[in-house]
Assembly symmetry: C2
Homo-oligomer: 355 residues x 2
Amino acid sequence: SRSHRIAVIPGDGIGTEVVPEGVRALRAAADAFGIGLDMVEYDFASAAYWQRHGTMLPEGWFDELKDYDALFLGAVGWPDVVPDHVSLWGSLLQFRRRFDQYANVRPVRLMPGVTSPLAGRGPGDIDFYVVRENTEGEYSSIGGRIFEGTERETVVQETVMTRTGVDRILRYAFELARGRERRKLTSATKSNGISQTMPYWDERVAAMAADHPDVAVDQYHIDILTAHFVLHPERFDVVVASNLFGDILSDLGPACAGTIGIAPSANINPERRYPSLFEPVHGSAPDIAGKGIANPVGQIWSASMMLDHLGEPEAAAAVLRAVEEVLAGDRAALTPDLGGSGTTASLGAAVAAAV
Amino acid sequence: SRSHRIAVIPGDGIGTEVVPEGVRALRAAADAFGIGLDMVEYDFASAAYWQRHGTMLPEGWFDELKDYDALFLGAVGWPDVVPDHVSLWGSLLQFRRRFDQYANVRPVRLMPGVTSPLAGRGPGDIDFYVVRENTEGEYSSIGGRIFEGTERETVVQETVMTRTGVDRILRYAFELARGRERRKLTSATKSNGISQTMPYWDERVAAMAADHPDVAVDQYHIDILTAHFVLHPERFDVVVASNLFGDILSDLGPACAGTIGIAPSANINPERRYPSLFEPVHGSAPDIAGKGIANPVGQIWSASMMLDHLGEPEAAAAVLRAVEEVLAGDRAALTPDLGGSGTTASLGAAVAAAV
Ligand SMILES: CC(C)[C@H](C(=O)O)[C@@H](O)C(=O)O
Ligand SMILES: CC(C)[C@H](C(=O)O)[C@@H](O)C(=O)O
């Protein structure tokens, strides 16, 4: 029977609470569809590991992880112990870069049973993808300070975009749009204000559009685009964006669709040279960590995306159906963020049972 | 009697349609309150000027404008004629920089008569300010391309933050918060991903917070902050942000409060060494330009902010009250974006009459 090797990395805060529920759903799907899952758990990429070792990852992490079929991550970040930019640049952002997971794919969907904060929107009204460039752009380690600690203190940070990096994410997004019914692609830009990189982004969008005449293309500056997410979410099908703009849109989109708590993401290396990484959009949420009330659906939906990527579309669909069934069912069974009185574990168990 | 000299710059597209309504409201207020207004109109900072002269501004623009008491701008940008980054860097962004208008102040308020896209929100529920750094940060002219036109093409863009630039906008925002009832300040950051400039921003916020113990401070990464705008807009009082983040939040905020069409902005040089600039948040809107249906309220509300800055608080309040009265009145009198069947001119006339 088919078998997949998965590295499980719970990380920090509610990551450690929702990952077990993702694993539970994975086991249920594996049992139901006769799939072998070899899951190995790692304690690195966490503040606890940092406290013991002074680094976020062990020296040999790349070789240790590179032959897995996928990485299943919770959330990283515990600012009371280690500053966020240190913990994230020391773990998640390394995974994305070193494993060349350049396509960060984030579905935005108003699910049955979930209430949108937008008036008059029901399931089916919001259903699109944010495709985020995941390795370059505004997230760059280049930069630093001069005249430190003085009145002349100046800090610079370099955004870097490359032909390779921009074209491959655009191609990925155009192909995704091409395979969907509406065949529509929206590009997030800010070429009126950001004078070098964003006009370049627009040029490459235009070039890629010429190669994809069957995809309808439009573009908006990021400021007005966020407004349209709120005012006209039904307009969007595939939204492609730079690293930072994609980061913003993939939190705003799920908020418009009710909650960040259920939003999944896939950090994909499309060439499959390295493992892809699956994680919820939400973070470690220090404010609710340890209470057992975190919503595990983002993690479980990420598990579904992982199964799909592993070539298990039926198991993936079963997990997503189970999520939909539970969300649309008894509201009391849901976690408090969805208006219920359930716990992380009870909601996770309900989904696993529905698989 | 008091008298003020104002440079009026309609710009492009709907800028040329809404500015006359702003002027009409200004004249009405001047009459009612015995204020002298000396308004001089300029045709530069427009695509038409660009077509004739090949530049957005005449050579002597700085000296021509620097002694005005204020600048009253419509909107700049007509991408069919001149690329946005060329027209904006050649006009509006020059004004902001050369006249050191470092505080871009943008009220976000759900007005009577306006429907929020957010379920269950009424007037009073959304009422805060976005204070945007307006001269440095992500909007920088530093950068360029290497290996142009080849597969190795690489584009860089430098974000620059300075102690001077960051501290003065934070101080402005803290002082604004201090003068309000809730005394609450929210900082927009992204220090987990943007590794140099945003951790610096956070440090300066912490330092400024220590100097303002009477202001309650919190901070959110920009991604989750956009989500909170949609899910919990009532939480915000004064939101301070870098140039780019402020740009995004000051479109998203007004969208949550119903429409971008009514949102005003003040580009302030607090030291009054140079004229401040007042303009609506919306742009030139090529899609609806020339139809006479653009909403003039953003321009008129900007006129109110200008009167306030000029030391005419009563006239400013009268204009804002007139706006509120008309918005809360007969819906049919409003422009189509607000569900009415009125025109730019009829709505402008109604506000002027109410002044
Ligand atoms: C037109 C554009 C350059 C401008 C900006 O990005 O600052 C506008 O969006 C604004 O918010 O004033
Ligand atoms: C934690 C943070 C560095 C990360 C990002 O900005 O990419 C997160 O917000 C995300 O969206 O995956």
